[in-house]
């Protein structure tokens, strides 16, 4: 008799549990583990550290709404130290901990190794802002994606903007030869600029860490033919030195570059005096002009961290988690192959703009617009989104 008497109460309990799940309360099931192999130290930290904050914010939001597939989401980041070997080791550790997806350091060299481990383990790996065309299915595997536009787009977008919008036809190119990113960005910019009909007057090089741009400057000054603008592919802190040195010499030519310019440290470093006529393309912009959803994002960010988001790099971290969540919901599972398929099939409206990946056979090439930004008196202003009409081959 006692056993039968318990049935109603059991039913009630089950009902409560089911209601709880439907009502947005995460179930007591094993949480979905998103493994971070982002770099909190070393040269990539300036991009990865803000991304981690974006990831944490998105994870909190998703958990508050009931998690993914009814399961809570947990995010664990192990510092990959901007080092390829550590990246690989961290990848192995995350897989051993049972990660359902991995977010690597935002660079092919420093983040790729973690993705290779994810690929081996059959889980999805998605980078926030690795922009090398190598970062895709061809080089790393069919479960590897990057949220970022590739350097093909990043180089081509500013080339189009300069040539078509501004009517600039002659360029002086300076390339930082220290890492692959800056070299490939210059290469795609030059290719697109020439395709459009522009002329490259000179290609100079620079090495990150030299902190001296005087020799390159002397060449620009002594050149018989003056360019319409200077394309500088480098990154902080030396990018600050380069721009300041050019402006110090009284050269007011426009300076154009890629997403490494999108750094509050640079805006302050060039300041009101030297931070003029600087143009760059990047992943998004922290204002409602670029995307109306940024307003809500900023409110949520301030509520969690108590200050305004200071760098664009927070948004891709936030986006990556939502992309994973949507793809897992659509696939109905965390199984790598199915989630990857969902990511290929779906299109995403992110804070950093509309995104669509090609299938694995064509490299998981991202189709994404670039945000064009201009510095005036050291203050960035959003100019618009550009999708290059044609792209250089990766």
């Amino acid at each position: 008799m006692i056993r039968f008497a318990r049935i109603p109460s059991l039913l009630i309990m089950v009902t409560i549990l089911l209601t709880a799940c439907a009502g947005g309360q995460p179930a007591a099931e094993k949480p979905i583990l998103i493994g971070g192999a982002l770099a909190l130290t070393g040269i990539n930290a300036y991009v990865d550290e803000p991304a981690v904050r974006g990831i944490q914010l998105a994870v909190d939001e998703i958990n508050a709404k009931g998690g993914i597939l009814g399961r809570n989401v947990e995010f664990v980041n192990l510092d990959s130290k901007s080092d390829p070997v550590t990246s690989s080791n961290v990848g192995v550790q995350l897989v051993e901990r049972g990660a359902n997806a991995i977010i690597p350091a935002a660079d092919f060299d420093m983040g790729g190794p973690a993705c290779r481990e994810a690929q081996k383990a059959g889980i999805v790996c998605i980078s926030t802002t690795a922009s090398s065309p190598l970062f895709g299915s061809e080089a790393l595997g069919d479960k590897v994606f990057t949220l970022s536009m590739w350097n093909t787009t990043m180089g081509a977008a500013t080339a189009e903007y300069a040539f078509k919008e501004k009517g600039w036809t002659k360029v002086w190119v300076v390339t930082d030869t220290f890492i692959d990113y800056t070299k490939s960005l210059s290469r795609y910019f030059i290719e697109q600029f020439k395709t459009l009909g522009g002329t490259v007057l000179f290609e100079d090089t620079y090495t990150q860490g030299a902190q001296d741009f005087s020799a390159q400057l002397a060449r620009i000054q002594s050149s018989a033919q003056q360019p319409d603008f200077i394309y500088v592919s480098s990154y902080m802190p030396d990018l600050g030195t380069i721009i300041r040195t050019i402006r110090e010499a009284g050269i007011q030519l426009p300076i154009v570059g890629g997403d490494t310019y999108d750094d509050p440290g640079l805006f302050e470093a060039v300041g009101a005096d030297y931070g003029n006529e600087v143009y760059f393309d990047t992943h998004g912009f922290l204002s409602a002009e670029a995307n109306p959803r940024v307003t809500d994002f900023t409110t949520a960010y301030v509520a969690k961290f108590g200050k305004d988001p200071e760098a664009v790099w927070i948004m891709p971290g936030y986006d990556v988690v939502y992309v994973l969540a949507k793809a897992m919901e659509k696939a109905g599972t965390t199984d790598g192959a199915k989630v990857a398929k969902a990511m290929e099939d779906m299109e995403f409206d992110n804070l950093t703009g509309h995104l669509d990946w090609s299938d694995a056979a064509s490299g998981h090439m991202p189709t994404k617009a670039a945000a064009i930004v201009r510095l005036t008196a050291g203050v960035p202003k959003f100019l618009g989104w550009i999708t290059p009409a044609t792209l250089p081959a990766p």
């Binding site: 290609e203 860490g209 750094d263 060039v270």
Partner: protein
Amino acid sequence: MIVFEFIINAISVGSLYALIALGLVIIYGILKMVNFAYGELIMVGGYLLYLVGANTNIPWLIAAVIAVVGAMVVSYLTELVAFRKVREKSLTALLITTFAVSTLLQNSALIIISPRAKAVALPQIFSTTITIFNITTSMRNILTIVVSIAMLVGLTFLFRNTILGIALRAAADDFQMTRMLGVPANLVISSAFVLSGAIAGVVSLFWIGRTASVTPTIGLGPLLIAFVATVIGGMRSLVGAVVGGFVYGLIFSFIGVLLPQVLLDYREAFMFLIVILILLLRPEGLVRVKYAQERVG
């Protein structure tokens, strides 16, 4: 006129490099130890500039004094806490300790402040461009040259005409003899570190003045420059360091302009080729000294 602009740039770079090299060689002269934590003293100066500028309304000039004094204090502390303990041990132990101190300072900045580049507020004079006789250059270049040369003159006076300077030079020549004559070893060595820190502090003002930002790894560049410059100039001589710094700065600037475009990627290779040639012809560096003593303990 471009030629003159370039020459001003090259002299500005050369005089800064000379100062950088001098700060390293002061320590090497006495302890025969390459202080790999030297670059971090420049970083300390930079972060002090940043911290003072970002958190207070103190005028830049006072912030600059704080940065220089801070670098001196940290330099003295590294000697007191780390190097003094291992001074009696092998040279290898001392070298490894300098690496340890360097890593410790770098990572402290990284953890306490940020891995990102932090912008350092500069006075208006660092963002001013002047034109004299059709030559356009930055006030920073002029300031760098003036201050570096003033520092070099001041240090020359210190080394020639003060008891401390004479003791330092004597210690660099023959440390045991200097000790026997009654000069306290710890005092001389500590003074050398304080002086090295002061130079690093002044260097940090102008090094940061070029880029207007500071990162935890900013010391690596100056350290390499100091190392190569002292090797070119001669590691045993203070004059050698200054000559080496100037030569390095000038060669680097001229190579950048004179190399044809196809060879520009190999700028560093050509630079070091010249360094190797100098060392083949003058293995002791450009400036030779009379005394050559082994390291002291």
